[in-house]
Every structure is written in structure tokens, then in C-alpha cells.
Amino acid sequence: MVAFLHQVFSGLAMGAVYASLALALVVIYQATHHVNFAQGEMAMFSTYIAWDLIDRGVPYWEAFLLTIAISFLIGMVIERVVIRPFERAPALTVVIVFIGLLVIFNSLAGWRYSYTIKSFESPFPDEPWFGNSFMSSHESGTVVVTLAMLALVYIFFRFTKLGLAMRAAALNPTSSRLVGIRVGWMLAIGWGLAAAIGAIAGMMAAPIVYLDPNMMGGILLFSLAGALLGGIDNPWGAVLGGFIVGVLENVAGAYLVGTEIKLSVALIIIVGVLVAKPSGLFGRRIAARV
């Protein structure tokens, strides 16, 4: 039983990472109905920025905040420069642009920082907190940081004028323009926000999975699975889905099969759930337009 709980709790840490990236995917999906396949690679690149800053002697938490700010700007610039010309392009064309971005970020990281695996420090102490024997301090720290980020995002969308305008722009761009909202900029800010959230996910994941340009492939997949499991039209469902996937992955890896093919097994389970419940566990069924 204790061993099982251990698996569940340490699954929560990776679950927090999936939840963050799932939220980043949903922020962009709700505004544009595109899944940004480059989100994981953008997060990976942000993590390298943090590594670089720390390597230059910047203290961890300053590097952490600086990385979030830089990532926000990168996200905004990408939307304005790369994505914006494709506003009216067919959906698959946009997917290909995302693939292009994915390849570019992966390649730039390999070029600047090499493909060798780096270790990434955790800001949390070595011994677990409060004698918690189920989670290491990095694992509990990851969950705490993620929950704090989620609370901030919630407050932003719920209580600020800009957050309200962003929700409005995603729901109904035409009406938003009619109340004076600059919808294009809302999209750019959404991209910035997603990139910033992804940066947090990357920095929290890196001490667990180590830092290398390909670290985010599997993480993106599980985040997308979490988002779809929870319902891609519902940010909080997506977050919950991310946590569920994290736990599921860990438990499946420990009890059902070895770590060798746990990816495949977890995926089969997720796809199975989606086949049974296509709109996700907490998603609204979107009525097909006739």
C-alpha cells in the first residue's frame, strides 16, 4: 500500500508538469482552435534559457522569473511574426507551420547547447519537506509551484480586465472588436502566456527528466492526452486531466509493465478512454454544425 501511494504521489509531480503544458495548449486552442505542436519544444528552449542564466551565476529564483518573462516575449513575437500571416490559412497548413517551429526550436537548442544531456538543478532542498516520505522535495515543490501558477492564471482570467478581454476575444472575435478589443493582440498575449506557462513546466520537469533538446517529446504527448482527457475546451478539466495522466503513467509503469513500454500502455489506456468518451471526462460535447 505504501509503495502504491508512493507511485501515486510521485506521479503527481509529473502530472503537474503535464497539467501546466496542457493548460498552455488549451489557452491557444480556445482562441484559435489549433493545437500548438511546438509548445513542448518552446518549453524546452525556455528551460535552456533558465539553464544558461543559472550557468552565468544568476540565482535560481531570479533566473526563474527572468525566464518566464523572456518566454512570454518570445511567445508574443512568434505569434505576431510567424503565426499571424496564417490567420486565414487551412488548418493543416497551420499544423505544418507548428511542425516547422518544432524543428526550428529543437535544432536551435541543439546548435546552441549541444545534444548532450545536462543536469538541471532543483531549487528545493535535498531532504523531503515536513518528513513527507511519499514525495521528494522537488516533487512536492513542483506541485506547489504549479498550483500557485494555476491560482495566478485563474485570478488573471477571472478578475482582470485584460483577462476578461482575452476570454471575450476567444469566445467571439467579431463582438470583441465591436467593444474595442484588439483581438490580434489578445492572441499574441495568449501565445505569450502559453509560452510562460510552458517555461514553468519545462523548468519543473528538467530536474526529473534531465535537460536535452528532445526532453519534451513524450511530455507534450502526455500533456495533449491530459488536455483531451479532461476536455480541451475546459482549461480546468485539462489541468485535472494532466494530473490524472501523470499518476496513471507512473502506476502503469510500476505495476502493469516495466518502464520499457509504459508509454505505449498509458497511451492505449488514454485512447481507450477517449473512444468511450470522445469529448473527454469534463468536456462539453460540441454539437456538430449541420
Binding site: 496564417f86 487551412p90 493543416l92 516547422g100 546548435w111 508509454l263 497511451l267 488514454i270 477517449l274 456538430a288
Partner: protein
């Protein structure tokens, strides 16, 4: 209203243009085949191998385009069927001693069954959900191929080595040249079949399902049947391509069938043009040759840019999408339409 009447008056010119277009079309195919037939004698051995790869990609892309372009089912995981085709051939040749030419149809059938079966869960998963399921398939494929329980058959991480077949009947061809002609024959056959398929009743049903599933159902089209069959046929095409790829490369290994291969296929059909038979050749040339050119460009940029070819590839890809958002086929169609309007204008004026 005004637009509709313009279109009506424009129709007779369009019909005439259609007849001449069809003639040009046939001539074009004949010329392309003739060119393809002399090609292996005009270029070096490595180039022959490369062009075999282009033909193989063209077949795989054609399969994916039937599914995604014509039928509207997205797949980020066609690399899996490519892998199944390749491994079917390799296992049959290496482990069971089956003659290589006989493994091609077997690989096709195995993939047809696999695709058909995958088509059932796909029926329940629309759009982005199907993208996830196929994305998962693509990521899981190398893992499953390396799985310990099957490595007696799959050769584990190393994969399986095949020796390239010699040209039969004492034909004066190198092995690469002979394989090139095998690929060319398969390509011609599969293109001919696909062109007929999409032109007929089945093709119209496939497109109707993509465009308007509710109306298609109301017209009596059995959506589940067409979708699963399309998945099967699509996998068959890609599987045959995979089988030939195993022969041409002389090796099948798990890591050559990773996620990136599946992404390349998707890139290929969009670059070539969705729902276009001939566009996939442009797509195949792109995914085979552009990475190589990107490599050369990176070399030109000097020592510091050595690790950058994929960044250059990404930039080229995005730039191309910007210039031709509907792919090569879409761009050609736009040019033809403009030329047609010009000639029609000069006739009436």
C-alpha cells in the same frame, strides 16, 4: 448574383479547357514515365538510391493523402504502417526465406488489415482526437519494435539487415537500378489505381464524407464502411512503400520509424497539396531532398552553423507554407486558372 452569372457564362470555355488539359495531362504522364525510365542511367548510383526513396515516399504520401486529403481523417502516425510494411518484408525474407518480390503484396495486405482495424477506434475520434491517437501510435512504434518479448523476430534495437536483391534474368542492371525499377513499377501501379479510385463513385463518397458527413449519410453513404476501408487502403499504400524502403535501404531499424518520419509524411502531403494525386510527387521530392539541401546551406554558412540544417529546414517549410498555403498542387491550380482566364479573355476580347 452577379458572380453566379459570370461563372455560368464562363463554363463553356472551361469545358474546352478541360479537354485540352486532359490531353496535356496524358502527355505529361507519358513524358514523366519516360524521363523516370532513363533517369537511373543518367545519374550516379547514390542518386539512383535517392530517387528510389522519392518514389517510395510518393507511394507513402499517396496513401496518407487518400486518408487525410480526400477523406479528411488526419494521421500523425503513418510512420507506423511504413514500419509494419518494412518489418513484414524483413521478417519474411530474413527469418522465413521468402523471395523478396513475394513479400510486397504480403506487406500490403498485413498493413491493410492493421489500418482497417485502426480505423474502428478512429471512427469514434474526430479531428484533434484522432491526431492524438495517431500521434501516440507514431511515438509508440519504435518502443514496441524494441520490446524485449519480440526481439527474436524484430532484431531489437539493431533491427534486421537485408541483402539487396540482384536483377533477374541476367538484366544488365546494378542492384540499385533494379530496385529503382521495382519501385517505379509499384509507383505507377499504385498511382494508376488511386487516380481511378478518386475519380469514381468511391472517391466522391470519400470527399462527401470529408466535406459534409451528415449530408453524406443522408445520401445513403455508409460512412463507417468508407472510413475504415479508406484507412485500410491508405495503410496498404504506406505499407508497400515501407516494404520497398526496407529493400532499398537494406535495413529496418526501430529508430528510423520514429515520430519524425510520421511528421515528414504529413509535411509531404501538405507541401504537395491535400487531395491531389500528383502533388504527392512534389511532396516526396521535398521531404527527401530539402533536408539534404538544408544541410548544404548550413555548410555554406560556415562551421558555426553545422548543427543548423533542421532549423533551415523549418524556416524553408514555414516560408513555403506562406507562399503556397495550399501546397504545390494548389499553386499550380491557381496558375492554370489564371492562364485559363487570360486565354479566355484574349479570345473574347
Amino acid at each position: 448574383m452577379a458572380g453566379a452569372s459570370q461563372r455560368l457564362t464562363a463554363r463553356p470555355a472551361g469545358v474546352q479547357a478541360g479537354a485540352s488539359v486532359r490531353m496535356w495531362h496524358r502527355l505529361g504522364i507519358a513524358a514523366a514515365l519516360a524521363g523516370a525510365a532513363v533517369l537511373p542511367f543518367a545519374v550516379s548510383g547514390y542518386r539512383v538510391y535517392q530517387f528510389s526513396q522519392v518514389l517510395i515516399y510518393a507511394m507513402a504520401l499517396l496513401g496518407l493523402n487518400l486518408l487525410t486529403g480526400y477523406n479528411g481523417q488526419i494521421s500523425l502516425g503513418h510512420g507506423a504502417f511504413f514500419a509494419i510494411g518494412g518489418y513484414t518484408t524483413a521478417i519474411l525474407v530474413v527469418k522465413l526465406g521468402v523471395p523478396y518480390w513475394a513479400t510486397i503484396p504480403v506487406a500490403g495486405i498485413v498493413c491493410f488489415v492493421a489500418g482497417f482495424l485502426f480505423g474502428f477506434p478512429a471512427l469514434r475520434l474526430g479531428g484533434i482526437y484522432l491526431a492524438l491517437a495517431t500521434f501516440a501510435l507514431a511515438l509508440a512504434t519504435p518502443q514496441l519494435l524494441k520490446f524485449k518479448a519480440v526481439d527474436e523476430w524484430t532484431g531489437g534495437v539493431q533491427g534486421l539487415l537485408l541483402s539487396k536483391p540482384k536483377a533477374p534474368f541476367g538484366l544488365p542492371l546494378t542492384r540499385d537500378q533494379w530496385l529503382y525499377f521495382v519501385c517505379l513499377a509499384c509507383t505507377a501501379l499504385l498511382f494508376w489505381a488511386a487516380a481511378n479510385l478518386v475519380r469514381g463513385r468511391i472517391g466522391r463518397a470519400m470527399v462527401a464524407i470529408r466535406e459534409h458527413p451528415v449530408a453524406a449519410e443522408a445520401m445513403g453513404i455508409d460512412i463507417a464502411f468508407y472510413k475504415t476501408m479508406t484507412f485500410g487502403v491508405s495503410a496498404l499504400y504506406t505499407g508497400i512503400a515501407g516494404a520497398l524502403s526496407g529493400m532499398v535501404a537494406g535495413v529496418v531499424a526501430p529508430d528510423s520509424f520514429g515520430f519524425f518520419l510520421s511528421l515528414s509524411f504529413l509535411v509531404g502531403i501538405v507541401v504537395g497539396g491535400l487531395a491531389s494525386i500528383w502533388g504527392v510527387i512534389a511532396g516526396a521530392l521535398f521531404i527527401e531532398l530539402v533536408p539534404i539541401y538544408a544541410d548544404q546551406i548550413a555548410d555554406l554558412l560556415g562551421e558555426s552553423a553545422k548543427a543548423l540544417p533542421w532549423a533551415i529546414y523549418g524556416v524553408l517549410l514555414i516560408g513555403l507554407m506562406y507562399m503556397m498555403p495550399t501546397g504545390a498542387a494548389g499553386a499550380v491550380r491557381a496558375v492554370v486558372r489564371r492562364l485559363g482566364r487570360l486565354t479566355a479573355g484574349s479570345k473574347s476580347g
